[in-house]
Structure formats: structure tokens, C-alpha cells
Symmetry: C2
Subunit: 190 residues, 2 copies
DNA sequence: CTTCGTGATGTCAGTTGGTGACATCACCAC
DNA sequence: GTGGTGATGTCACCAACTGACATCACGAAG
């Protein structure tokens, strides 16, 4: 596994986020990102399929983690409880990185239509993965689809609340926000 | 309003759908579409922001129509009934064009990631528009967001079922499929 | 210590999406 | 018929991507 400076993909991710935040997505060229990371533009496209994908590196990992949590939920759990477990498990991954990173990343995504599109398709993919995991547990197709869709909606809302919450020592744990959002959902359907 | 051959935008839409279906989205260049429509590539971009947008021309119209129906719902209706009225009204627009057109269009979109992304952001825009319309009626923010999200989910599912249904004289009316899907939803939350 | 293979990177040429600037043409109003 | 106006054509250009091929670091085999 020979190479010059290890961690090219990580450097490209950092450089991209910094430049997108600084000059905006449109004002940043792939060559700019590659320069800052100390590689060429061609190398950028060897690590990421396109200029958008560089901000969505962890999405497969998140999907796998949530599907795993869903599959490992007790057999006695209802479909919605099962999905809730998967959504709660997502906080494991976000706890390993500084919240400030998530915040800056989301600010860039929210303000760039092209990145919003990519984010939406990632969530759609997550939805179908959760649906499939529910089907594997023997849940009825209609119920599975609706439960997965609802779970992703909860994730969406909770993530937005967590990002908007204050940071630092008096910050809120993502898992708590998810629990609160799930409570809200119960209240609505009651 | 002077021009050479009227209806350039319409010809471009037809040409794009035909070529996307025939050679695939990636196998079609904007120059190809423009050639078939009898214009230049530059003119294509004067009518449509990009290569994807050409398939989503009616979306603002659909959004306006649904928002209008939502706003005109009786004041006595619950938020979910209000949203249901908006979703039902969407069938008005689809009844004016051949179902075969919707089918071919959806086949292309479903098989092309870039077009799927664009479709998702259109539905996200529709969701926020419905949410805003509910807020204008005085509905609580949390309820409004959830109701809008649920309504769009119903539209999504119903549209998929309608597209998959047989065509021709023994075809199904879109409005009936929507009503059936709304019934399913009631059953799920019961 | 040399050689050799392998994987990551650089280089280069090319296609395509997309945009700005300017010229041009058809049509309508006066 | 003259002039204005809006849609179109033309041209030049940048940036996103891609395929083909060369090259370099490093580790394994001798």
C-alpha cells in the first residue's frame, strides 16, 4: 500500500469543508480543494465520485450502524420501537466527532441546493435500507415503509434541533434530543 | 413576442424525455436534445436551468394548485383533512395529460440517480410549501410539519401505485388511488 | 542489497455541462 | 417603414469529470 502522504481522503474532506464554508460551494473548484490537500484534481476524483460526495463520506457507515441496531432490537419490540432503536443508535457515530464539525457541515449543505439534493438522496437510501431491515424481521410491507419513513423524519427533526442547540459544556446530547423528538411524535399520534 | 417556431420549450421537453428513455440520461447530450427540438444548446439553457430541470417543468404549477386547495379547505377541517384535500387536488393536473406520459417520465427518473435527486428536492420544496400553508391557517408548527410530511408521503405512495396500475379503458383514476392510500393511512394509525 | 510487483498518484488530452457577451432575426406597435 | 423588443444564434470560455498511460514509493521475495 505505497503512497506519499497518508490520509489523502481525510485531507480532501477537511479542505473541501473549509473552502465550501469560506468561499461557498460554487466559488470553490475541485482544483482548489486538491491544492489545499496537496494532491491533484485527478486524485480528488479517485477518492470521491464528484464534488458533492466529499461531504457525505460517513453515510454508508451511518446506514450500516442503524440497520445493525434495528436488526438487534428485541423480537418483542413493535415496528416503531424497533425503528426508534435504530434512530437512537445513530447518536453513537455523532458522539465520536466534534459537534462543531457537524454544525459547519450542515450550514454548508443547507445553503447549497446541489448539496441539499445529495443529502436528500442519502436519507432516501437510508429509508429504503431501514424498510428492508424491517421486512427482514417479517414486518408487513406497508407498515415497514411507513415506520421507516417516520423514523427518518424523526432523525431529520432531531438532528436539526441538535445542530441548533448551544454547544460546549452546557450542550445537549444528541440521544436526548432524539428521545425528546420521539416523545413529541407519540404525543401527536395520541 | 417574436420567435421562429413557437413552443420551443415544449419541443425541448418532448425531445428530452424521448432521448432519455431511448439512450439513457447519461447517453444523451444537451446538444442532442436541442438538435431534435430544432434549436441550439444555448437556447436549451435559456428555457431550463440545467439538463435535469427539463423533466420537472410542471412542478411549480402542481405546488400552487395543491397549496390553493389546502387554503380553500373548510375551516372546520382538521389539519390532516386539509392536507388530504390538497393531495386529492393533485389529481386534477395529472388527469389533463396522458398517463403514459407520466409513466415514461417516471421510468426515466427512477432509473437515473441525478434525476432522482432533483425529484426529491421538488418534493421537499412541496413539503415546505404545504407546511407554510398550514401555518397560515394557524396550525401549530410541529403538527403542520408532520401533517405536510405525511401528506407528501401519501402522494408519493399513491403516485407509485397509480403508475404501476394498468392503463387504458380499465385504468384507475388517480384520485381513487389517493383515497385508497389515505384509507390505508387511517388504518395504520388506528 | 537488489529486484520486482503493486497500489496510489501525476500528467495529459478530451468530452460535456453551463454561462456571459454580443450579434441577429422575426414580429408588433406606431 | 421604422423602431423597439424578445427570442435565438454564435462564439469564447470555465469547470466538472473521465480514460489512458507514465511514475513513484514501499513492501516482499530472492
Amino acid at each position: 500500500m505505497g503512497r506519499w502522504e497518508p490520509g489523502a481522503a481525510g485531507r480532501l474532506r477537511e479542505a473541501a469543508l473549509a473552502l465550501y464554508a469560506e468561499r461557498g460551494y460554487d466559488g470553490t473548484t475541485v482544483a482548489d480543494i486538491a491544492d489545499r490537500a496537496g494532491v491533484t484534481a485527478r486524485t480528488f476524483f479517485r477518492h470521491f465520485a464528484d464534488k458533492r460526495e466529499v461531504l457525505f463520506a460517513g453515510s454508508e457507515q451511518l446506514e450500516q450502524h442503524m440497520v445493525k441496531a434495528l436488526a438487534e432490537a428485541p423480537a418483542s419490540a413493535t415496528p416503531m420501537e424497533t425503528v426508534a432503536a435504530a434512530v437512537l443508535a445513530s447518536s453513537d457515530l455523532f458522539d465520536t466527532i466534534p459537534q462543531e464539525y457537524s454544525r459547519r457541515r450542515q450550514a454548508v449543505i443547507s445553503s447549497t441546493p446541489e448539496l441539499r439534493e445529495r443529502e436528500l438522496i442519502k436519507l432516501a437510501t437510508l429509508t429504503t435500507a431501514l424498510t428492508q431491515a424491517l421486512l427482514d424481521r417479517g414486518v408487513e410491507p406497508d407498515v415497514a415503509a411507513l415506520a421507516a419513513e417516520t423514523g427518518v423524519a424523526v432523525f431529520r427533526v432531531a438532528f436539526g434541533r441538535w445542530i441548533a442547540a448551544p454547544e460546549g459544556p452546557d450542550g445537549v446530547a444528541f440521544a436526548d434530543v432524539i428521545r425528546s423528538t420521539l416523545d413529541n411524535l407519540s404525543g401527536l399520534t395520541a
